[in-house]
Symmetry: D2
């Protein structure tokens, strides 16, 4: 296969970004079709990106024999069903996180993937494709920081987007499932181990609206892994400064901190506010290159007959752990795996 022909499903903010990347920035890929229930978005995007195949029905997309692979950026609750259908239709599948909204759903996806061993399935844990995370992981894997002692991760969304977060609250699954899954994936990736216990706390510090869904606007948890590595995760929706994703891996011989200053770019501003960096606004800005890199890897896997580093089982495992966090948060007690 020379050029991988892709159908991109879902034209929301991130879906659009993926579609644009496939159209222009992913080598050996072609954006052959787009699919969305929104007719306006379909037309507008199709025209702008020069895509003539525009499907309002997912089934029609799957029936298109000239499509090699689908990229799913649909609502989370649809993921596992769409994954199974696409594999059944003979397509390779890239799905945005989370794999599914429940562990039971994830298991269905596992089954579908297992039934199609010749197909590539990849999950959108794009942080693994960020140059800084990759560089840090190489160092950890090479033993340069010794034995992992503590993994710490923050995922914070800016307060200024709180209205959107509140609107999405009924469907988000809560902060652990919505925001911490990336950090849970990273914790397993960097520590090379699995959690044994978790204690999760948090609350509504500024926005009681989340309480209705047994969720908080800021939450955290402490986990102990089988290899003794500790992990502290913090997720918040009220960051005053911007979009903040930072990660630290403390080892016995070295410490790595990724993006501990969430600077938008390389410009330092000195003015009446002091010496400062402005911050990223959102994940699209921060992980711009990583979103392109993960799809490049997806396409390479298809062309080279390789399997991606992240498997469907990782997706299930991350959902299990996030669910345990949520359970601990709700019960106010320790959860043991």
């Amino acid at each position: 296969m020379d050029i991988v022909r892709i159908g991109s499903v879902g034209l929301g903010r991130l879906g659009l970004r993926h579609a644009e990347n496939i159209a222009h920035a992913i080598r050996n890929a072609r954006l052959d079709a787009i699919c969305d229930v929104n007719a306006g978005a379909l037309r507008e995007t199709g025209e702008r990106l020069g895509v003539s195949k525009r499907y309002s029905s997912y089934e029609a997309l799957l029936a298109d024999k000239d499509i090699d692979a689908v990229v799913l950026v649909s609502p989370s609750a649809l993921h596992t069903g769409q994954i199974a259908a696409a594999l059944e239709a003979g397509k390779h599948v890239f799905s945005e996180k989370p794999l599914g909204t429940t562990v039971a759903e994830c298991k269905k996806a596992e089954k579908a993937v297992k039934a199609h061993p010749d197909k590539v399935f990849m999950l959108g844990f794009m942080r693994r494709f960020d140059a800084s995370y990759r560089w840090a992981h190489d160092k950890v894997a090479a033993g340069e920081i010794g034995k992992p002692v503590l993994f710490r991760a923050y995922s914070q969304d800016p307060e200024k987007f709180i209205a959107g977060a509140i609107a999405f609250a009924p469907h988000s699954g809560g902060e652990f499932l919505d925001m911490c899954v990336h950090d849970i994936d990273l914790a397993r990736w960097f520590s090379g181990s699995e959690p044994e216990t978790v204690y999760a706390i948090g609350g509504c510090y500024a926005h009681p609206e989340f309480g209705v869904y047994a969720d908080g606007d800021n939450v955290s948890c402490l986990m102990k892994f089988k290899n003794d590595c500790m992990a502290f995760l913090f997720a918040g929706r009220t960051a005053p400064h911007g979009y903040n994703v930072e990660t630290e891996i403390i080892g016995t011989k070295g410490i790595l901190r990724i993006a501990s200053v969430p600077q938008k770019n390389l410009v330092e501003v000195l003015d009446s506010h002091g010496v400062r960096h402005e911050c990223h606004e959102n994940f699209l800005e921060r992980f711009e290159a990583a979103f392109a890199a993960e799809l490049t890897e997806f396409v390479s896997c298809i062309r080279e007959g390789r399997k991606p580093e992240v498997s469907v089982y990782d997706g299930t495992r991350v959902s299990e752990i996030a669910s345990a966090c949520k359970s601990s948060f709700e019960k106010g007690d320790l959860v043991r795996f």
Copy 2:
């Protein structure tokens, strides 16, 4: 009282620093006497600092009517007994942390302090006197960061001093009582609240020697406070880079990070290792000015008939919390206060 005449007890590393400060850097104070069981240290320090009163017996020091106050930098297990005796002898008392090695011991100190309301008693939580911590606390107190969401504190000692830490392990009381008490004090100071639950974990990642004392070389805990504030504390003895004490207070409107780069000074070095700051070696270097500032406050309190901000009850409370952390760590379960 014009000049406060001080007897300094204990001439170890920190005791010596306090003695030197009293001799040279604390206004309105005079180092009138020193006390230590080590005759050599007594003579050497006495000569160097020009102190002629050199006591090898604590009782003899207390019997000296010309001494207004004592500064206790003796082994932790002696603190509460020495505090009571000094107050009984009519001296003002500054004691290094911890107040006592058990909560029961702390209660004895409380009783003694309560019995001498005319005397100044102060505990050595010097971080509160560091200019950066003070500045941050002023901002928090003024409401500039909104409601406290998460308090995070690291206290790390350099790996290169591990031999000393191992030698001290039988007497340290464990990392929570030995190292985290400062952070527990800060957590209460910044959050303005008290913990309700704690889950503590950790282990021996590099040095199994600590396991003999049911201790770890790196530990952490997650606490929930009554006002919902979360607190994550981490203490380690294997820091590869140097002495690292950093603190973060995340609020709903602002975030403050104190010493998140533990830089030794203002010099940035650019060489074959990259762009870098060298780090502090130990607490004496990092908190040099704070150690002088706290004794300046102690002397001012005596002269002005004021009571210090930190009371003996804070000392007990911190010990109770550290003990709960230790208990959680040992049991592997959540502890509720």
Copy 3:
């Protein structure tokens, strides 16, 4: 014109990068042909990038009617001749800096460009396409830093590549023409003015080899611009830490510093060397995205019939200024424009 068909000339390090970008990362462009005198490079690159048109003769490339544009990454001394020939052959031209090795040569290029007003000509001042420089320039243009007071720029190559720099010394034209041209371009871009005087100094601090060519291994100059803005440029070939390009614009109301810490990525390393960032190795790594962005703009200009922001006259002007710097350096005296 839908897709711009490009012939890339010169397959050295930067030439290769441009060719790869055109092949994979520039939307609406196609790498249609490559040209180099080195048969091995031609074959290897052609195979790797899937380019079947491989020219060892520049004239043959120009004779190819299916080529819309050429990208020149040839030796500097060939630039102006190749520019004129390409324009004459009806091609759009992107040329790497410098425009020419002498001002007289630059004037020839000017003449050729003037004679073909329907063709796009663009010079490779890629820093203008770096996201941080662009963001800073937007702020300056919007008046956010007030009146420009001082422009400061460093361009440093790592000591570890000194052997290559020494080998190239006979042909480099000296540090001002070889390295400072980017900074001279930026100084004019940010200040919006032209220099009136320059005083340049420097020497061979580590490598006397450069002295043979009346050059130094580290040089600097101070310029005064017509609008009073001061400019200090420093170029060096012995940077101990890596590739360092930093720029500062001091205004009456604000200051912007671009890349004052030349960090390779977002990872902070804490180890026995302190707290540090590793640095970029070379311009390809630092300006990876900018090299793609400038060619994207070149292609867009061609498709949209626009002219790029940088004109051929800017190329001449930069060469004139660099020559004046060199002259000041050689004479040891002030030069007035």
Copy 4:
């Protein structure tokens, strides 16, 4: 001599700071007398610091046989006369910078110092006593950065104090003599050499008031030293962010940057302005510890019969160089020494 009895002359902002330091923070020193023409300041400071000897006449102070040393923080134009008179009266002398307002004046001070070889004379170049500068100088002296290539220094005062700077303009001697003398001292100290040429430029970018005195609000100069070291100095009165004194020494093997982020303290603030450090307000805040350290050294020199590192000849040399900068700035031409 056990305790050095000091008479402090001049109770302006810096004079007051010196007086307070002598009274409270300098070991083996006593503030025995104060001297000022302002009766109110004399009384208020005398009462606050507990100094009963309060002289309104400098001659009366010198006649006091119980005074061992004077600290001169008087108007610059009085320095050399007061230095000579004090030495003549048998006092040790510490004088604030500049040594004198003209080179001829400086020569008079030289003569007086030479005539009293048994007395300690010290000039207030306090930056040499800042811990970061000291640490950097030790590294340079130990050869850790190789041969010095470029010395760069910024001295910037905040725009918010511009009214005071304008009021002082008639007496300041201009930015080179008023602000750059510290940097000139540092340039000689770090490079270990003397300048051969200087080219100085600048202007009134925001405040034409300085033009009346042939001065600018922002100026800079480029110097070449005898050992080939380059030096770039920049001084400004319109810093938007605060008090900024930063220094860089680029060597062939390493680079040191002192205070390149002029952060007020160790607190990083993350809020709607981004990630930021607030800045120092003025020299008293930035060099608080250095002002105490230099007087500690002055007192030690007196007690130990040593001479300070900085001699009166350094004071003259710095004035000569600053005058040459001023001359170049005024003539708009290169000046050779």
